[in-house]
């Protein structure tokens, strides 16, 4: 019974990893690709790690598997943030379909970021 | 007495570490010299031990061979260690006078002794992979020493030295890996027994990898280019240390593996080594003639004379091998002396470019003597140590009917003599050119180590028997590996 749970977890995990991979290929620009890895990727890995925890039914193994998951959850968004920000700063333009870009023009020469007049923004939308 | 065998390792290591840990300038200087003297003493003790009791082996970590790492001292190893101690002492003395606070602040003493740590490890280890590690130790230490101070020339030379060394490193690694894969062994004595089961053609091909990897270290044709590109760059004492020790490690490794492991097809491998030796000798000597700068000239001489050491290995008779060993030992002293001397001249005249030098014979006659002793020794003239080295090789070559290489060896002797003669004429005899720099200050304690080495080459020349008979003992052991294997593995072939 537990075995089946493991199989399902793994299967779904692999599925999401596939989604992440395909997303990285198919998505139109960098920022959208990062969505694929940071979400589907995290989920996919997470499911497989949970499968490991379930499979061994040992506290020490589960602890390691779940802390791995925790680490990924901790680090993946930071990495995505750093990369997205750097890419934007270096001039990687969002794809043409991009609906709105409120960040445009707000980075100063020394990479400091201005805040925007939120009222004005809300009006624009 | 197993500690005696690891002493040449522990002394420089401890010195190097203490230099890293103790920041005081005085402490470092004292350690720098004490460590070198200690190494010399350790080398003497080890040689005495080997003399008395034959080949020594110790199983590091007490794991029996071939499973752990074995350290072995036969005559060859012990002699190499001893002479490296001599060079170390000379360079340490020079360094005491030469070093400024800046270089000491950059860790000169620690680096120097860690270099010696690697060199002696390489001389003493009985394990091929372990040898790789020692090579890397001495390599990295030498990289850092080479760029210490960071002048443009040093960086330009350092880049080339580094690049080629990387290549040799990886080559050596691959060679060890392949040999391990073909035999399952890493211990050199174990390898000597197991290579018999390897397909001979494959074994020859593997031996070629070692030839290239060690040939790069030894700077033989066609792998020598890095040496003249880099050795002239660092301060003289560092060049001297390198010239004295580093290429000899390559030569040592070649001698070791091509007497212990790859002896199945000497008709091919060792003939090839002879060709390599011949080209190295000739091209090195020729290119030395084209040099107008002393240290670059010496670098080409260094390359050329590596050929002599390979010549003995290629001929592979007891006398020839003894010649190789003796040549290597002699050359360590002589070339270190010459590079140090270049340092003295640099200090006196502010340059080592021959055309801008001159006029030293009158005011510095003893300096002329200090040049002539090692210079003529390098050319193989009596009554200096270099003569016996060349004599032995020539005699061995004639005995073995290898007339071609003997002719090359003699010709190169003449070219070397010409080269040294030209240097002598330019630096000492020629009038100082207009505006030549007047000697500032003086040379201070820098002269002492050069003098010691120069006297040593003369002393060995006059009384060659001890070192020659030791070299012969080394050669006998090399040609009869059973003793080595017995000492390491405790079994006979």
């Amino acid at each position: 019974m537990l075995e089946w749970l493991v199989y399902i977890l793994v299967l779904v995990g692999v599925f999401f990893l596939f989604i992440a991979a395909i997303g990285v290929v198919r998505m139109p620009d960098l920022y959208n690709r990062m969505h694929a890895t940071s979400k589907a990727g995290t989920l996919g890995v997470g499911l497989i790690l949970v499968a490991v925890a379930v499979f061994y039914q040992e506290l020490s193994v589960a602890a390691r598997a779940l802390s791995t998951l925790a680490f990924i959850v901790l680090t993946a968004p930071v990495a995505a943030h750093a990369l997205g920000r750097a890419a934007y700063l270096s001039g990687v333009k969002p794809c043409e379909d991009t609906y709105i870009d409120e960040l445009a023009g707000h980075y100063q020469a020394n990479h400091k970021l201005e805040s925007v007049d939120t009222e004005a923004t809300q009006r624009r939308i | 007495m197993s500690w005696l065998l690891v002493l040449p390792l522990l002394v420089p290591l401890t010195t190097g570490i203490l230099c890293l840990v103790l920041p005081g300038r005085t402490a470092q200087r004292v350690l720098g010299l004490a460590g070198a003297l200690g190494l010399l003493a350790a080398g003497l003790a080890l040689l005495a031990q080997v003399q008395r009791q034959g080949i020594q082996a110790v199983q590091i970590g007490n794991w029996p061979a071939p499973f752990g790492i074995t350290f072995v001292a036969d005559h060859l190893s012990a002699l190499m260690v001893l002479i490296s101690g001599v060079v170390a002492v000379a360079v340490a003395l020079f360094a005491l006078a030469e070093n400024d606070q800046a270089r000491e602040g950059l860790g000169y003493y620690a680096l120097g002794h860690l270099l010696l740590f690697g060199v002696n490890g390489a001389f003493l280890t009985g394990d091929l992979f372990n040898l790789y590690v020692w090579f890397e130790v001495l390599l990295l230490a030498s990289f850092v020493l080479m760029i210490l101070g960071g002048s443009k020339a040093q960086l330009a030379g350092g880049v080339k030295y580094f690049a080629v060394s990387l290549l040799s490193s990886i080559l050596f690694l691959v060679a060890v890996g392949l040999l391990y894969g073909a035999t399952g062994a890493l211990n050199m004595a174990d390898l000597a027994l197991r290579v018999e089961r390897v397909h001979p053609g494959l074994l020859t091909a593997l031996s070629m990898l070692f030839l290239v990897a060690f040939g790069l270290k030894a700077a033989v044709f066609p792998f020598f280019f890095w040496l003249p590109a880099s050795y002239p760059a660092p301060p003289a004492m560092i060049s001297a240390l390198f010239a004295g020790l580093l290429t000899k490690v390559g030569v040592y490794a070649l001698i070791r593996v091509f007497t212990l492991i790859f002896t199945h097809d000497t008709g091919f491998t060792h003939s090839l080594i002879l060709w390599v030796a011949g080209f190295t000798l000739l091209l090195g000597a020729l290119m030395a003639l084209a040099q107008g700068e002393l240290r670059r000239l010496l670098s080409f001489q260094l390359v050329s004379h590596i050929g002599y050491m390979l010549m003995g290995l290629g001929i592979l008779t007891p006398l020839a091998l003894a010649g190789s060993v003796f040549y290597a030992l002699n050359h360590m002293i002589v070339i270190a002396a010459l590079f140090l001397l270049a340092g003295l001249l640099q200090r006196l005249q502010g340059t080592t470019v021959l055309v801008r030098m001159g006029g030293l014979y009158g005011p510095y006659p003893w300096l002329a003597v200090l040049f002539l002793l090692p210079g003529l020794s390098l050319a193989g003239l009596p009554p200096f140590s270099g003569f016996w080295a060349k004599y032995t090789l020539v005699a061995a070559g004639l005995q073995a009917g290898q007339y071609g290489i003997v002719a090359v060896a003699l010709l190169v002797g003449l070219l070397t003599l010409l080269s040294m003669g030209l240097v002598f004429a330019e630096v000492f005899w020629k009038k100082a050119p207009e505006g030549a720099r007047a000697a500032p200050g003086g040379l201070g304690g820098r002269v002492l180590p050069v003098g010691l080495l120069a006297v040593l080459t003369l002393a060995i020349g006059l009384w060659a028997e001890p070192l020659l008979s030791l070299s012969q003992a080394a050669a006998r052991e090399l040609l009869e590996p059973a003793g080595y294997i017995q000492a390491v593995l405790g079994v006979s072939r």
Partner: protein
């Protein structure tokens, strides 16, 4: 598997060598790293493959067979570390060389900026007009 690895190692070695022969020294360094990977795979293969278990002794004291040959692993670990140290040093060396020499072109880093005439046994070296 071993045979495939032999071909992969050869292929990686070719790529590494090709990069090492490029004129830019950073490419040389990258080539070295590729070659290092190839070398590590080579050593790994040299210890033979086909294992099913890692070389860990079970708490019971037994080693599950066939275990992966631990020796090449130890050798590779050492080699990786050394290679890494070399690479780290090299990266900084190249950086400094670029700063000091203004180039990292393997063909233009000169080794004898001071080209001085060699003395000859039959013709005198010019002593006039020698810049010091």
């Amino acid at each position: 598997m071993e045979i495939l690895l032999a071909f992969l190692v050869g292929g990686l070695a070719a790529v590494g060598v090709y990069l090492m022969l490029r004129p830019h020294l950073i490419q040389f360094l990258i080539g070295f790293l590729v070659l290092g990977n190839a070398a590590n795979l080579l050593i790994f293969t040299a210890g033979r493959l086909g294992s099913q278990f890692p070389p860990l002794v079970q708490p019971s004291g037994a080693v599950l067979e066939p275990y992966a040959n631990p020796l090449p692993q130890a050798l590779i670990l050492t080699a990786i570390v050394i290679g890494f140290a070399l690479a780290a040093f090299g990266i900084v060396l190249f950086y400094r060389a670029q700063q000091a020499l203004g180039t990292l072109n393997a063909e233009t880093i000169l080794e004898a900026p001071d080209v001085s005439p060699a003395p000859s046994p039959v013709d005198e070296l010019p002593t006039e007009g020698v810049r010091r």
